[in-house]
Amino acid sequence: MSVEDPYALLDKWLNAQELLVVGKDVTRVDAFQKAVGKAYFTEDYLLKEALFVKQVLSPYPHARILSYDVRKALDIPGVKAVITAKDIPGVNQVGYALPDQPLLAEGKVRYVGEVVALVVAEDYDTAFKGVESVEVKYEELPYLLDPLEAMNRNDILIHEEIGSNIAFKTKVVKGDVNEGFAKSDVIVENEYRTHHQDHIYLEPEAALAIPDMEGRITIICSTQYPHLTRDIASKVLGLPSSYVKIITPYVGGGFGGKDDEGPLVAAKAALAAYLTGRPSFLMYSREESIAIHPKREATVIKYKSGASKDGRLQAIDVKIIHDTGAYANRGPFILWRATVHASGPYEVPNARVEGFAVYTNKVYQGSFRGFGNPGIQFAAESQMDLLAEKLGLDPIDFRLKNILKEGSTTITSQKLDHSVGVGEALRKVAEASDWWRKRREYSLDTGRFRRGIGVGVAWHGISTSRGVPDWSNAYVKIEKDGSVTAYTGIVEMGQGAPTSAHVQIISELLGIPPTKVKVIFGTTDAPDTGATHASRGSSIGGIGVLIAAAKLRERLAKLASEILNVTPEEIMFKDGRVYSKKDPNLYIEWKDLIKEAISKGVELSATGYFFLPKGKFDDVRGQGFAYPAFSYMVVISEVEVDVETGVVKVLKVWPALAAGRILNPQQVEGQLEGAAVQGLGYALMENLVFDGKGRVVNPDLTDYVIPTIRDVPEIQKPIYVEDLFKYGPFGAKGVGELALIPMPASVANAVSHALKTRVTSLPLTPERVLELIRSSR
């Protein structure tokens, strides 16, 4: 085994006893610059000579494009180009999972807001005029908005070539559900519905594409995966990938939305730049953003589950229908995630789960924090409360009887061999919230204001699902003056992966202060690090940083041991000094060690490639290895419902997280609080409304309401169970998405407790709550 073996290096730091920087509230390096406007976002790079791009959008949910007439638009002084599908030099195909999606509509439009053409002009106003002057003739087609209707109809096809409106199917089959229900003493069956959610990142989508003299293009853009963005843009342009460079500056929020839309915005700006030979800038207005970009999927979930008198789950039978909208996009991956997580974090011996992603003529679904999981956990956790009630058990006691632990098998029959801290998290947070007393006491409320307390427990697989390849990488180099530069493809979109976690990892390993570490993030100049999604930026993204820095440390430890005449094992790196642990008087200054390394031919740069080991998964039966590990989250919510107005107030929230090592408690807290409030918004108020033609009628922040500072509950200090993950940096799993996932379940269970009636659909707006109260009387 070489000392640079990545497994050995991960293992060494997983078990490190004493950490200096990791695990501490280290202030992130980008905070001050952001506060004073010195951190640049995409629009801040706008060039004076840039052309402006505006988009011509489809006014119809489903129509054939008969003809375009762009002459009037081109006659406007200042309009430089009008671009339609036929002008695309490369391939007009940007479907993520299935090849079903053009960048610019071709032949047909499939939702209101689909991009049909681009107008490129000297300034915004002229581009607007150009958009109004482009004449597109359509032949309207019959359309489908309801996924339940769409999946059963073949007379109207949204994608003719597929021959059905079902874009994708998934399945998990474990054991025998009939036998499981036969063994059950209580059975509960319900239909749950969840709705679309918009990300509302405060920075709308933007990209600036700059052609250079050698036929290459640089795109500065707000995206979550620079390498994928490059691959899509180069494919559209018909250029080799190496001719396109992506720079992702600070991103004003992503939440998954810019994982899907970012590459498309970049490709459109690049197209304009390529065809005009001038820098071109595209930024969406808020209305365009909401109309065009993919949303959290709406779901219909039919869920039947059974348990025996002893409080053990026996079977689940689940049908998941995702409204995928006009295109499949990441729908198949989102559906897989929902399908394999359908049980919730519990042992279930018999399971049948079927998933369907169904096309409709609405804005399509895509990545959003939680990725298919919040909807299914809402259904699963509602069922758990109902079963507990029928069994006469407390909801948490019932959960604890079935909770996953080390050695448990999941519904894909994957045995969990380590890192399963959910049971401990649940017990601890139940105690911290005084659960059992409140659960009894609030049941007695009878007045206008009714209190309720509810729990949501969730699990979330780390990395891509099944055998889908996943890896980490980074390039780290030590400069002559001893400062360190690291390159990663991970972006900074608020979560702080490259500006806190990665900085801390390097600082820890090389014993230099965070101020000496510069992480260059979000660039295709870095090795492909995978996307900044799936809660992987700090954890999986951090593996590459750790391995590269650890390799450098091993080399320098060897060199220092030779200089100091001690063993490499006793070498320590701390406060800019390298010394012997046994005798701290034997030391060499970091700067001098670097000089020595340069003069003695020790390489001071390293990459940290790591390919995540995975097992086999059978897609037909949905059995096998689903994820290398899971992160777990419990949220207990306390609510007060005004039964006269239907207004729900979330008063208190208790979070508990089992996500391995906490690299930076303050930053993790920030993620949990932000995700909890985004989840609370989803559960209570956020609601995208479609009219009868599939048009979003509330594409603005007055009518699409997100939480303000007034809506924030008292969020308690999180409970951390550090169930280390053997392939994570220092044992870290992922955090970013976690607190959102159980939030709808937690709030819905609390409201159900307060009202003594079951919530089965969201959001819990006052209208819906009043309806619920009326129908339960």
Partner: protein, 155 residues
């Protein structure tokens, strides 16, 4: 048309279209980067600036309306004691994630402190900041940061 105003302590004379909004003038013509573009219809607060000492959404102000006014942004205000305290507190409390909303919050919080120097309650702060949206932090650390800065300034 010609418009003149004081921007961050300096006189500015600029030729604008009558329908141009202050947000565009500041961002695109005068290079003020702390003022962000979020909704362009007065809903999100990321473009907040001080106009004659009061916080306004610069996307809702026509530049000609700013004629003769004093406009201040965080680039300039960061020299003030109260703003320094606010920024320090935001940084220390982890109240900054993506940072897109941060300058708007700082400007609004500063105006709040100036308008009602003594005895700001938590409710006053909530009322003062409810016109600024943040999608990352869940607001808890923002509220803590502002209250902490207030306490610092009072002692």
């Amino acid at each position: 048309m010609k418009v003149s105003f004081k921007l961050n302590g300096k006189n500015v004379v600029i030729d604008v279209n009558p329908n141009e909004v202050l947000l565009d003038t500041l961002r695109l013509k005068l290079g003020v980067k702390s003022v962000k573009r979020g909704c362009e219809r007065g809903e999100c607060g990321v473009c907040t600036v001080l106009m004659n000492g009061k916080p306004v959404y610069s996307c809702m102000v026509l530049t000609p309306q700013a004629d003769g006014a004093e406009i201040e942004t965080v680039e300039y205000l960061q020299g003030k004691e109260e703003v320094k305290a606010l920024i320090d507190s935001f940084v220390k409390h982890g109240a900054i994630q993506c940072g897109y909303c941060t300058p708007g919050f700082i400007v609004t919080a500063y105006a709040l402190i100036k308008a009602k120097q003594n005895g700001l309650t938590k409710e006053d702060v909530i009322k003062g900041l409810e016109g600024n949206l943040c999608r990352c932090t869940g607001y808890k650390k923002i509220l803590e940061a502002v209250i902490n800065a207030l306490n610092q300034l009072e002692t």
